[in-house]
């Protein structure tokens, strides 16, 4: 029976070949061919697209995306760790509710959440109205790099809280008691026991925030205005406005490599190997 059921997967094998493997291959193909390649007879391989990307103009966009994503990740970590710690210490009856409240916004349309911040940060938005009411001067908040960072922190912080919480709640209570018995004070206990044991969660959190943050194009577009062009915006522009697919594909490949490298780092640290299928 078991051997025959395996054939159930074969239609899906065909499906993933057509809709997952083939498209990925096509992106790779476009990234190493010239624009003039039309079909098999005129195909012409080149490294030009990748070389083109390693110009200061584009490298700056890449570094800037990595920089903005890294800052957002650090802020998420600093805000998210205490939150995860508090939830893991909360009474068991409250824990699930607190956790649910942290994930709920994640299930709402990302555009809506980002759009909501436009109405708060705008020049005639809520915050500026509150400032005016308090007699403070208007602050230009929307369409700044700060707004982009804030949008990323807002959208991705649940991805930080969740894995850290999981790591903290799985911790062996006996180890904590042992630390107490051996005379560790609260500070030492946290630094020497709790923090190292929660590291797998911290690492997963960092990757899970950094990955979507570095590739986003909605948040910088809506909140950052034209000031912060990120690598996602560049890809979108190349495909939708410029129609330069070869170059766009090369950048997508760079993006995929960054993501897969981060994934492999995560897998190194993920001691429990719970991340589902291990990729690389």
């Amino acid at each position: 029976m078991k051997d025959r059921t395996k054939y159930f997967a074969y239609p899906y094998v065909v499906w993933i070949f057509i809709f997952i493997a083939l498209p990925a291959f096509l992106v790779l193909l476009y990234s190493v061919t010239t624009k003039e390649s039309n079909g098999l007879t005129t195909i012409h391989f080149t490294w030009e697209n990748f070389k083109n990307f390693f110009q200061p103009l584009y490298l700056n966009i890449l570094w800037d995306s990595i920089y903005l994503a890294a800052i957002s990740t650090i802020i998420c970590l600093m805000l998210g760790y205490p939150a995860a710690y508090i939830i893991s210490k909360a009474h068991i009856s409250k824990r699930n509710t607190l956790l649910f409240m942290c994930i709920l916004p994640m299930w709402m349309n990302m555009l809506l959440r980002t759009y909501a911040w436009m109405t708060i940060l705008g020049n005639n938005g809520i915050l500026n109205n509150i400032f005016a009411f308090l007699g403070l001067p208007k602050v230009n908040m929307l369409y700044t790099r700060g707004a982009t960072i804030m949008g990323m922190v807002y959208n991705f912080i649940p991805f930080m809280i969740l894995p850290i919480y999981t790591a903290l709640s799985k911790m062996d209570k006996a180890v904590l008691e042992a630390a107490d018995d051996l005379g560790a004070n609260k500070r030492t206990k946290f630094i020497k026991v709790i923090l190292p044991l929660s590291m797998p969660g911290v690492i997963s959190g960092i990757i899970m925030v950094f990955m979507p943050a570095v590739s986003t194009f909605i948040i910088p577009q809506l909140l950052g205005g034209n000031k912060s062009m990120m690598i996602g915006n560049l890809v979108e522009k190349l495909f939708i406005l410029n129609g330069d697919w070869n170059f766009g594909s090369a950048i997508s490949i760079v993006m995929m490599v960054i993501i897969l490298l981060s994934m492999s780092i995560m897998n190194k640290f993920d001691v429990d190997k719970e991340g589902g299928a291990r990729l690389w």
Binding site: M1, Y12, P82, I86, M108, N109, Y154, I218, G248
Partner: protein, 266 residues
């Protein structure tokens, strides 16, 4: 004691940060004037305008139709695939699982453009079909990932017992396997539905002439300048997602509870 209050205040601030924008959107959808910062009075004006807006109505129709078809098709294909994958072994299984995992880990924008390139390479017309196929493509992996753990828990001897008692393999599948993995199937279905409703990036790259969904409308509206009708639309969408989430959560919790009682009985 002080620590306890500090924790409460800290969580309060985090939740204000997480929910303030959503509350603001919902409240200002009932605002009378176009202003986004000043409250001028209660009205349902934007809701009424919303229902008269032809573009939004079409986008709503496409969003819901695509979400329903996506959920049904990807649940059926995903369930069949999961049963097959579960019976596989070794490298073959690992390879399929890894390829299946690709749309989950890849940035949406890469999935979007790779599908766009695929459709253009095969000269497909962009529109309803391309968007629907794309949604099914990125939903099936999530359906499979929610069903596989249930299949792992399944007792192999049950199917064997059913067949020893004279059930055909198909009958055993229908009467034994499917009922056992049903919670996973339902979770997968709801996930596919919400993923499809929520998707923007992949739809954006695979949309066609005259076919948009609500996310794309919100995106173009937000870029052109903010219209309060989006607030009304957002509030409706948030309410729907909230109800769905509570439903999913109730199911998940109910399931955990039944598992816990089972264990205590043992």
């Amino acid at each position: 004691m002080v620590r306890k209050y500090l924790s409460k205040i800290y969580m309060g601030i985090i939740f204000i940060f997480l929910y303030a924008p959503i509350v603001v959107l919902a409240v200002f959808s009932f605002n009378e004037s176009k202003s986004r910062g000043h409250w001028t009075g209660f009205s349902l004006r934007w809701y009424i305008e919303l229902f008269h807006d032809q573009d939004i109505r079409m986008a709503f129709y496409y969003t819901i139709t695509i979400a329903i078809i996506t959920a049904i098709v990807s649940t059926i294909l995903g369930t069949i695939a999961a049963i097959g994958i579960n019976a596989m072994k070794g490298r073959q299984k690992a390879l399929i699982l890894n390829v299946n995992y690709l749309p989950v880990v890849n940035p949406d924008i890469v999935t979007g453009i790779s599908l766009m390139i695929l459709y253009i390479s095969f000269n497909m017309d962009f529109g309803f079909n391309t968007m629907l196929i794309s949604h099914i493509v990125f939903s099936i992996p999530y359906v499979i990932l929610s069903i596989l753990p249930k299949l792992k828990q399944l007792d192999v001897h049950m199917t064997e017992a059913a067949m020893d008692l004279g059930a055909t393999p198909m009958y055993a599948l229908r009467k034994v396997i499917i009922p056992e993995i049903k919670p996973g199937i339902v979770t997968g279905f709801l996930m596919a539905f919400t993923l499809s409703i929520d998707d923007f990036i992949i739809s954006y790259f695979t949309k066609g002439e005259g076919v948009t969904n609500l996310s794309i409308i919100i995106y173009s509206m937000a870029r052109r300048g903010v219209r309060p009708t989006i607030n009304a639309l957002s509030t409706i969408m948030l309410t729907v997602v909230l109800l769905l989430m509570i439903l999913i959560n109730k199911r998940a919790n109910g399931h955990d509870k039944s598992k816990k009682t089972n264990r205590s009985e043992v």
